[in-house]
Symmetry: C2
Subunit: 342 residues, 2 copies
């Protein structure tokens, strides 16, 4: 016991561990210095990039990169560029997705294609993807190739996920497995890729790298199903956006897909009627569909599925062969992401 305690202290002395707050401060400073405080020309191209990035967000993806990296190394300067690349890439997808989804608001502010125009949002988005690649190119040369490959595969899968999501709009039926595949591509792989890239730069072995990737995929799936759940069963004051948005948009969420799988008789008729119109009175429609979800126990079905993926995530997490102390911050963030009510 005493010897273990001693080893542990030695470990700590050899390898500095950063708290989530410290890492987010590092990310903020880097964005400030290199993006917000630089004013390259033409301004019409670069200003919308700064505008969107400055709207904030939790900077989860770069934090995941740095946390995975910090399990193996303390030289944050080796991973910070890749971390920024992931944040810039994520915001690029938001800029283009908002055009495609015709979204007017993002984080409480006007979206880029509304504030400027669609051409600007297309072109500044393109420049953001190039900017993300410029940050990837700063990865230490010994690991540039594998990091670049993970980044590219992730980026392509995110495009595939967005395509499946758009396809769903015109389909009458989507199966649970098709839905899980879509959210894995559209959301989860970017979290998983962020972790994997951090692990590779940190020098993790292949087993750890893959465990972190599996952890990220399952965490992302749990996260997205929670998102679907909160849109219906969340507390509006805490959730931060209107409850029932997905219901009003007839969006094929996990809840609707499971409801359509089990609903029968007159309840089925009522549900199909609701999701075939966009002209219902909003409050009534939300109440009617929510009541059907409760009647079908969909709230608990969603919670169970979320727990299933969360459990899978934690099983993968346990397989990471680093000292438990090195896992503390990532475990904390995971808890926050999954316990969140917003």
């Amino acid at each position: 016991m005493k010897f273990n305690h001693f080893l542990l202290k030695m470990n700590l002395q050899m390898h500095k561990l950063y708290s989530l707050d410290e890492l987010q401060e590092i990310i903020s400073l880097k964005l400030e210095e290199e993006i917000f405080n630089s004013k390259p020309e033409p301004n019409g191209l670069y200003e919308p990039i700064r505008y969107l990035l400055a709207l904030g967000g939790k900077r989860i993806r770069p934090a995941l990169t740095l946390m995975a990296f910090n399990m193996y190394s303390e030289k944050i300067e080796n991973a910070i560029d890749a971390a920024i690349a992931l944040e810039v890439f994520h915001n690029f997808t938001l800029m283009h997705d908002d055009i495609m989804d015709n979204a007017e608001m993002r984080r409480g502010k006007t979206t880029v294609h509304i504030k400027y125009n669609t051409n600007t949002a297309i072109l500044s988005g393109d420049a953001m993807m190039v900017l993300a690649n410029q940050y990837i190119a700063k990865t230490p040369v010994e690991v540039l190739k594998p990091v670049f490959e993970v980044f590219n595969q992730t980026a392509m899968e995110v495009c595939e996920g967005q395509q499946y999501d758009m396809n769903f709009e015109t389909l009458t039926q989507v199966s649970e497995s098709e839905y899980i595949k879509m959210i894995r591509l559209k959301t989860s792989v970017l979290l998983a890729g962020a972790l994997k890239i951090g692990a590779i730069i940190g020098g993790a072995d292949q087993a750890d790298t893959e465990a972190l990737y599996r952890f990220g995929v399952n965490l992302g799936l749990a996260f997205q199903i929670k998102d679907d759940y909160l849109d219906v069963f969340g507390d509006e004051r805490v959730f931060g956006k209107k409850i029932g948005g997905d219901i009003l948009a007839n969006k094929k969420t996990f809840l609707l897909i499971k409801a359509l799988e089990t609903v029968q008789g007159t309840t089925k008729d009522r549900l199909l009627e609701q999701i075939s119109t966009t002209e219902a009175i909003p409050e009534e429609k939300i109440k009617l569909v929510t009541d059907i979800y409760r009647e079908l126990n969909i709230d608990n079905v969603a919670k169970e599925k979320m727990n299933y993926f969360y459990t899978n995530a934690m099983l993968a997490f346990e397989q990471i062969k680093v000292n438990e102390l090195f896992k503390t911050e990532l475990r904390k963030l995971t808890g926050q992401l999954i316990e969140r009510n917003n």
Copy 2:
């Protein structure tokens, strides 16, 4: 003399030289095998990519990469992936530019955003940029970093060029130097980058690499001014598209910019009247503006500027320190590009 002749033969035996036709055949086969014959899912994402790439074009950029590479090495397999990356990237810019310019036709066929829809053209374009990066990632690892950096800088500059081009639409006056800067970014750097990437992979020294880059920039500028010239003074049957398209669109070409710089008196009033309307009778407008250009000697001004950049290109070309024989094919292509009437 005899000794030089002997050395030359030795060189030839040590280093295979490919003809332009052979290189274009290699490019075609690679596109066929890896892109046209593969059918990844979701089809809605990948089909528009194949559609646009299959419309053809002269494959100039990948040919430039392979020709620059072949000056230093015969192992085409080391450079073919980067060559394909440049062709895919070029077509990505066409897909997004056609949305921004509201263009309905491309190489005699319907543009992607018209054939499918705008969202498809945005997302498949994004996927094309990722695909281009996937090909860049296959570059031999010893030179991956510098190649990736040139590729990123080029890609960013192409975005900047497109932004300046869009800015010009709302400006009343554009100077010659602003115009040259725009076409350098929008068109020339991609030709120059293609050559530079080939040189780097081939193992050229820095002086040769930079000479090839300068050659490419100046060739691109000459090429673009020729394009502006042919749009007005070309032969419709040879040019392959309607003469006067730029005039009808009131586009700020090299010709219009130089005309506005020198025009005076009543001719100035007539020119300003023409370019402030979009409702003139097409044939009349084209004739009126063309006559003014001739009156102002703009056709010769354009030819002189083209020759200036072409001369600069050839000066850079002479500085490349490889055996004259290794330059034959690139010299031939350059001649074709600059002597072309279409």
